[in-house]
């Protein structure tokens, strides 16, 4: 952040509205700008329609797969996991950026999170909801999925606590619970604003319920900020643990290419990287469509791009480390696999991964490109692609080239795999599109918090809305 540009006497890590949002003049403007994005439009209906169509294609395909058996998908033993697990890890990864931005950056007091955290938090919840489908969807007998849940039963059979798949169940469910709670808590003051602006009595009643009777009082703010801080602290380790646990699905197995201690940090870095990529994919069109350029400023985008660059280099280092470990291990199975990874039948996938995740993001060393939203959007698509292929490279080539050469194989997905992959995007965007027209994609209350000091000296004729709102500095809340 451009701290040097701050007027003297201000706390460096809470940049004033002049720096953060120079074009925003009043609370009312914040409310009207953001609440104004909520009305459904023709374009939105079209997008939602496409998303629902994709989701329906996925749902139909899944129904067919359940009826026919998993053989309808492209599995080719020994590749027993394919597109579904790849996509599962992909969506879990996407689900990481939201909590990173809303919780970790909150604790680190990174100001640029303010404008993008709500959208990315919603993205997190929906991505985890999407990811959560896949472990069920890839089962041979999905109707028996509840065997993985520890429920009391007459036969006294419990899930196997040694199995990383059981850890997954807990990790994903915990993460989904916390991230949706965190999203909802953060939404309460904004829902109250919407409630106050709402004319339709039914919607108003619903919003009133959802806002839990928020009255904007001192006590409420005190409790709210405490709760928010607590949840942020609570969610932070989850960001690290969930993807670590997901990485255990691989790292705990013997399979060459999977069995590596580097996997947890490597997966977490990859998850954050892919999540930020998805944030760009979502936020940049949103910023344009909702005319939020004043809120999601180039400075914010620049800062997020730096984070993206940083995680890209971490991921790149992890890739190299894997090769180094294989080289130094003296383990012929491991070495053979890694040689095969870059020069074997799956080389194309590995090179897509390396170029998208390690080479293209290097462009972000240039400030010009960091501030070029078109380039960032294109890059983010490459990152999404690259990160999908990263998981593909981990899952498929490892399985196809294991210990037993007689059982080496290949893998070719069928339309069923692609149908369900498409369906997952439809499912995700359906929820996201519904969200952005029902609830504010930006934390109005938090933006106003930043505005407060300026408002006091403002010559703006709008009525002072600060009555009853306590400045964070006065409450002692740690912003």
């Amino acid at each position: 952040m451009a701290t040097s540009a701050l007027p003297s006497g201000q706390r460096p890590n809470i940049p004033s509205a002049a720096v953060r949002f120079p074009a925003i003049k009043s609370y009312e403007q914040v409310d009207s700008d953001i609440a104004g994005t909520l009305g459904p439009s023709l374009g939105w209906f079209a997008a939602l329609g496409i998303a629902i169509l994709c989701m329906l294609i996925g749902a139909t395909t899944w129904t067919y797969q359940i009826h026919e058996g998993l053989g309808a998908a492209g599995y080719q033993p020994p590749v027993m996991w394919g597109v579904y697990i790849v996509t599962f890890v992909f969506w879990v990864g996407i689900g990481h950026a939201g909590t990173l931005i809303s919780a970790i950056l909150y604790l680190f007091r990174a100001g640029f999170r303010t404008s993008i955290y709500r959208a990315s938090e919603a993205m997190t919840v929906f991505a985890v909801m999407t990811a959560g489908l896949f472990p069920i969807l890839h089962l041979g007998r999905p109707w028996k999925f509840f065997y993985l849940i520890p429920y009391p039963n007459w036969r006294l059979i419990w899930p196997n606590p040694k199995s990383p798949l059981v850890w997954d169940v807990f990790a994903i469910l915990t993460y989904l619970t916390i991230s949706s709670t965190f999203l909802y808590i953060g939404l309460i003051p904004d829902i109250a604003i919407l409630r106050d602006r709402e004319k339709n009595p039914i919607r108003k009643a619903i919003l009133a319920q959802l806002s839990l009777g928020w009255r904007n009082s001192d006590r409420e703010w005190r409790h709210f900020t405490r709760a928010y801080l607590f949840l942020a602290a609570f969610a932070t380790p989850l960001v690290l643990s969930v993807h670590s646990v997901v990485s255990f699905d691989f790292a705990m197995a013997l399979t060459p290419g999977w069995h590596a201690t580097i996997f947890p940090p490597y997966f977490v870095a990859g998850a954050i990287f892919s999540g930020i990529g998805m944030v760009f994919t979502i936020a940049i069109p949103l910023r344009k469509a909702f005319k939020l350029e004043h809120y999601i400023t180039l400075n914010d985008i620049d800062a997020a791009a730096k984070l993206c660059l940083f995680t890209s280099t971490v991921v790149g280092l992890a890739y190299l480390t894997e090769f180094q470990i294989a080289w130094m291990s003296g383990n012929p199975f491991e070495q053979d696999y890694f040689w095969n990874r870059v020069f074997g039948q799956w080389a194309w996938a590995a090179w897509i991964m390396l170029i998208c995740n390690c080479v293209l993001p290097l462009s972000l060393w240039s400030q010009k490109l960091r501030r070029n939203t078109t380039w960032l959007f294109i890059l983010s698509l490459f990152i999404n692609l690259g990160m999908w292929f990263e998981r593909f490279v981990i899952v498929v080539p490892s399985l196809s080239h294991e210990f037993e050469p007689w059982q080496w194989g290949t893998y070719r997905p069928t339309w069923v795999d692609y149908g369900i992959l498409l369906g997952s995007f439809g499912w995700f965007f359906m929820w996201f599109l519904l969200f952005i027209k029902q609830l504010p994609v930006m934390a109005m209350a938090e933006i106003k918090e930043v505005l407060i000091p300026r408002m006091k000296h403002s010559h703006d004729p709008t009525p002072d809305l600060t009555e009853g709102i306590v400045h964070p500095d006065e409450t002692g809340a740690t912003h």
């Binding site: 067919y64 026919e68 058996g69 998993l70 053989g71 309808a72 492209g74 599995y75 080719q76 033993p77 020994p78 027993m80 996991w81 472990p135 890839h138 089962l139 041979g140 007998r141 999905p142 109707w143 028996k144 999925f145 065997y147 993985l148 059979i157 899930p159 196997n160 040694k162 199995s163 990383p164 798949l165 059981v166 169940v169 699905d249 705990m252 197995a253 013997l254 399979t255 003296g330 383990n331 012929p332 199975f333 053979d336 399985l399 294991e402 210990f403 037993e404 050469p405 007689w406 059982q407 080496w408 194989g409 069928t414 339309w415 069923v416």
Partner: protein, 1034 residues
């Protein structure tokens, strides 16, 4: 209570309870399979105890050898065939073909009733009608009786004499007993040299084995006894005979040889002459392309080997000359009486009609001199080269009767089909070995009884012929064939009753009197044919002349050499393939003067660079236009002409391009022409189970040179395995079999080197089971024949998945072997075939093949167990790694984590009758083993060490209040193995022979470094390199 309810109505709480419970039940049961019902016998038939098997000793009729089999019959249905341990021929072992007889019995395309062709349309008729029609036809043909032809699939025993007698009573000539797989040249040479069609070959007594294209493990002669003896010979390790294979194509037998001399097709005679001293080595080297040094070395070796065993099975025009030259070598080396035993001749090969005679009969038909023709079993329309124009000649016969019970190509050309019973449903006999009669008794009632009041329910062809005779008013007819048969066997009914439990009677049957066949070789010289590559055709070791093709087990069983199933292929040497720009799987067009066929290329090191090889057996076609088989719709409505749903339309028939020729021995010439090949531009992924043909130094199939075995460990030259340096100084088994994840005392690092059995020790205080089930597989014995695989399919209800309709329904490829292409085969035990040496695919450089049967290793520290989220796979106290199908949700994580990749997933509902992928269409499902679950869609399965057999034996021992005895029972694979390579038992009990074998100096675990503590121990293959030759390298 009722009053209360009336008063208060249903309370809210009760309502909610009921609502919750019922909706939960509904939600769960909606996904469950419907429940079936078991109906017990009201009055049980004799000897039938539900759930307890009865065993019937009978005779296998799948080839001419006539092995003894035992049919396990449960609740009136035959469910498994095993070798008869008391039978002198096969001594308890049985090949894949023999075991698959069960699928001939239960073939879903079997005729249920007689059929008649009227005006080109087929119609089912009653048995009485069929007998009447046959009688009329026989009477009508009386004027032309002398010209009648009866062609029977060759079998030894009394039936041929019965048949000849029946034919004679109508004035018809003796029948032709055909076997297209028989090597007539070898038989003729044997007759001339040793006075027997097929003397017993005693491999154990040989000092050197040389085979000129004689594939004694592939189906040349009697595979099972030959394999038993060969394996016994090889099991002598450093004292075993070296085996040299000479021929242009390396068959399964060739792959078992220590050295392959790849000679030019047709040059075997020069080599044989050189070896016997009649020709010069140099001339032979020039003609055959084999280096003179190698021939010289072999000649020296052969001269020193007293006795040697040299066999010839070449398929060219000079086959008889080679066989006679070879016989001369044998006689010179003192082989007769030691390694070649005419006194113990295999009499199953006596009386086979020469192909010459068959062709003469075909010509007679063409000339219009045949009024009536009968065909039983033999499928001439498929097994004769297209050049013989059989269909055209056959059409000129006045009346054509088939006794085939499956809709094969020949039956389709007939007027009347009266299906014979399967050999497991009728009485018969065989004389497989001189002096021993094998009995054939029905193992069950017919699958399709006659349902007639006037004729017996079980009506085989013999009984049918008796009925016809009776109708014709012939006196002195026996009551039925069984009555007649019992009079033929020495000792009569008393002897038979006593012998039936064992299935064998001592003594000989009266010989069948047949006129000696005149042999008129009919061949065009191969040299005069066009093409740049010699076409070698050979009978598939599994499908034979095509007879096996309608049995899904045999279709699904990968060819032992190429590992391809559900397809034909063209074998081509890598150098030739490179020269012509051909890749594995390219569809080639093979062209000869007689026609063209298309088949995918299989690039194979073991074929001469100037030759291509094609198997015979596939390419069944119907004459009528039968629509593709539609499961669920076609099951009973459509006759599956073209040899049934599993055979029709698969691959190409190599006989379509083979010119017609017979050699001086009277047999068909299979290497008869040159051919040219061209790429069609099409390509297909071969339906092969082979991943990589090389083991990349991973030590899966390990070998040791015989000379190193006797050396002290320090001087022993072991193979070096990368990443496993310790192997060099620590040969043999490092981690004890008994070691287990829970048995910390069994650690491989323990001071006692695994003598401690950990928790499996008999008096172990933790009170775990005292057993540790284990297995040894002796690679010095294993020949790769794959009989164990079929045994496993049979025992464990493994579905076959390669039929073209067994793929998904929508937008899915429907081609045979699609699921195999995708690696979805379900073989719980698989035969891996690895090549060693000659990495560059150079012609003239030898290579070695190693076979490894690979099944679940029942690890003590199993990688699959901890990863299963639901305990569907867990560790049983007796060391088994158990799979619980009902618990499995299908995450497939266990398979991902299995280093041996021996877990198989049910991608489709192969076991569900209402699905198109159903693997056991009625009545194939009659064969299912009731002791083993048929797995549902979406669950994982794998080798269970035949846990049903373990529990059965344990229960039997418990019921009889005794301890289990050593080697009391064994698994299906071990039972069937014709090499006796597999030994199963309790590694914690010294009474089982597996405990001694585990201590063998050749023992090793696969991927020992992974610390899985496997219960399967492999014993290294033993190589016998030529003196002075470079040893084989991993």
């Amino acid at each position: 209570m009722t009053q209360d309810t009336k008063k208060s109505g249903v309370k809210r709480r009760e309502f909610l309870k009921v609502l919750g419970a019922s909706s939960a039940t509904l939600a769960v049961t909606a996904c469950e399979e419907p429940t079936g019902h078991l109906i017990p016998y009201l009055v049980s038939p004799d000897q039938t105890v539900p759930g307890v098997s009865t065993y019937y000793a009978t005779t296998c009729r799948e080839c001419s050898a006539g092995c003894g089999i035992i049919s396990e019959t449960r609740d009136g249905r035959s469910i498994k065939l095993e070798g008869n341990p008391d039978h002198p021929l096969n001594r308890g072992a049985l090949c894949a073909k023999g075991q698959s007889a069960l699928q001939g019995l239960y073939n879903p395309d079997r005729f249920k009733t007689p059929m008649v062709n009227e005006n080109g349309a087929w119609k089912a008729i009653t048995w009485d009608d069929a007998i009447a029609r046959l009688s009329n036809a026989v009477s009508a043909a009386k004027p032309q009786a002398a010209g009648a032809v009866f062609i029977n699939q060759h079998e030894s025993g009394s039936f041929p004499r019965f048949l000849d007698g029946w034919l004679a009573s109508f004035g018809m000539p003796a029948h032709l007993s055909v076997d297209f797989e028989a090597d007539h040249a070898a038989i003729e040479a044997n007759r001339r040299s040793y006075g027997a069609a097929w003397p017993a070959l005693s491999f154990q007594d040989a000092k050197l084995i040389v085979s000129f294209g004689a594939d004694f493990l592939d189906g040349w002669g009697a595979s099972v006894p030959q394999q038993l003896d060969f394996a016994d010979a090889r099991a002598k390790l450093d004292g075993a005979p070296r085996f040299v294979y000479i021929g242009p194509r390396r068959s399964l037998t060739g792959l078992n040889a220590d050295e392959w001399l790849a000679c030019k097709p047709g040059s075997e005679l020069a080599i044989a002459n050189a070896l016997s001293g009649k020709g010069s080595i140099d001339a032979a080297a020039t003609e055959s392309g084999v280096p003179a040094a190698a021939l010289q070395r072999l000649a020296t070796e052969l001269a020193a080997a007293k006795p040697a065993l040299v066999v010839s099975g070449v398929s060219g025009e000079n086959a008889l000359d080679v066989a006679l030259a070879v016989a001369a070598i044998n006689q010179a080396s003192g082989a007769v009486g030691t390694t070649i035993k005419p006194a113990q001749a295999l009499t199953g090969f006596e009386g086979i009609a020469h192909t010459d005679q068959v062709l003469a009969a075909v010509e007679k038909m063409r000339a219009g001199g045949v009024g009536i023709a009968f065909v039983r079993g033999a499928n001439l329309a498929h097994a004769l080269p297209k050049a013989a124009n059989f269909a055209e000649a056959f059409a000129k016969v006045g009346f054509r009767v088939s006794f085939s019970n499956v809709p094969d190509e020949t039956s389709e050309l007939c007027n009347l089909i009266i299906p014979d019973l399967h050999s497991l449903e009728q009485w018969g006999d065989a004389e497989p070995v001189k002096g021993t009669i094998g009995l054939q008794q029905p193992a069950m009632d017919p699958v399709y009884p006659t349902l007639s009041k006037t004729v017996p329910a079980a009506l085989g062809t013999a009984d049918l012929l008796i009925q016809v005779s009776k109708k014709a008013g012939s006196a002195n007819q026996p009551a039925d064939y069984r009555t007649w048969l019992f009079t033929q066997i020495p000792g009569g009914t008393t002897a038979i009753s006593a012998a039936l439990p064992k299935g064998i009677v001592s003594g000989s049957l009266a010989a069948r009197t047949i006129a000696a066949a005149a042999t008129t070789p009919k061949s065009t010289s191969i040299a005069s044919t066009q093409g740049d590559l010699t076409l070698i055709t050979y009978h598939s070791p599994l499908l034979g002349d095509g007879r096996g093709a309608n049995k899904p087990w045999l279709q699904e069983l990968p060819d032992p050499v190429t590992k391809i199933c559900w397809s034909s292929w063209v074998e081509i040497h890598p150098e030739t393939a490179q020269r012509l720009g051909i890749d594995r799987g390219d569809i080639l067009e093979v062209k000869t003067a007689t026609g063209t066929v298309r088949a995918p290329a299989f690039v194979y090191l073991g074929v001469h660079k100037d030759a291509i090889a094609m198997p015979i057996g596939q390419g069944h076609r119907s004459k009528a236009n039968v629509p593709d088989f539609q499961p669920k719709h076609d099951d009973s409505k459509q006759t599956q002409w073209g040899y049934g749903r599993y055979a029709r339309g698969i691959g190409a028939n190599a006989l379509d391009i083979l010119p017609l020729g017979t050699n001086a021995g009277g047999g068909m010439i299979l290497t008869a022409t040159k051919a040219s090949i061209s790429k069609t531009g099409d390509h297909r992924t071969l339906p092969s189970t082979e991943g990589s043909a090389r083991q990349h130094g991973r030590g899966i199939a390990q070998a040791i040179n015989a000379a190193d075995l006797s050396k002290p460990p320090a001087e022993r030259r072991e193979e070096e395995l990368p990443g496993d340096a310790s192997h060099a100084f620590l040969p043999g088994l490092r981690s004890p079999v008994a070691a287990d994840a829970q048995g910390d005392l069994g650690s491989p690092t323990s001071a006692d080197q695994g003598k401690n059995k950990g928790m499996y020790a008999p008096n172990e205080e933790r009170g775990m089971s005292k057993r540790r089930w284990a297995m040894t597989i002796d690679l010095a014995r294993c020949t790769g024949c794959s009989a164990c695989v079929t045994a496993c399919y049979s025992e464990n209800n493994i579905p076959t998945v390669g039929a073209y309709w067994q793929n998904a329904t929508l937008f899915a490829d429907a081609r045979p072997g699609f699921n195999i292409e995708r690696g979805r085969e379900m073989n719980w035990i698989r035969l891996e075939r690895y090549f060693e040496g000659n990495l560059d695919g150079k012609f003239g450089e030898d290579f070695e093949a190693r076979f490894v049967p690979m099944m679940c290793q029942q690890c003590g520290n199993a990688p699959c167990e901890p990863v299963c989220p639901v305990y569907a796979t867990y560790h049983a106290p007796d060391g088994l790694n158990v799979q619980v199908y009902n618990r499995c949700v299908g995450t497939r994580y266990c398979s991902n984590n299995c280093p041996y990749k021996v877990r198989y997933f049910n991608w489709f509902g192969y076991g569900e009758a209402d699905r198109k992928q159903y693997a056991f269409p009625e009545p194939l499902n009659w064969q299912l083993n009731p002791d083993v679950t048929v797995r549902g869609k979406g669950v994982m399965e794998k080798c269970s060490f035949c846990v049903q057999r373990i529990r059965e034996s344990e229960n039997r021992a418990a019921a009889e209040h005794r301890e289990m005895q050593g080697d009391e029972f064994t698994t299906a694979c071990a039972q069937a193995c014709p090499s006796r390579a597999i030994t199963f038992g309790d590694a914690a009990d010294p009474n089982w022979s597996v405990t001694q074998l585990i201590a063998d100096r050749r023992a090793y675990h696969v991927f020992e470094e992974l610390n899985a503590f496997t219960a399967v121990v492999y014993l290294k293959k033993v190589n016998h390199p030529a003196a002075g030759a470079a040893p084989a390298r991993a």
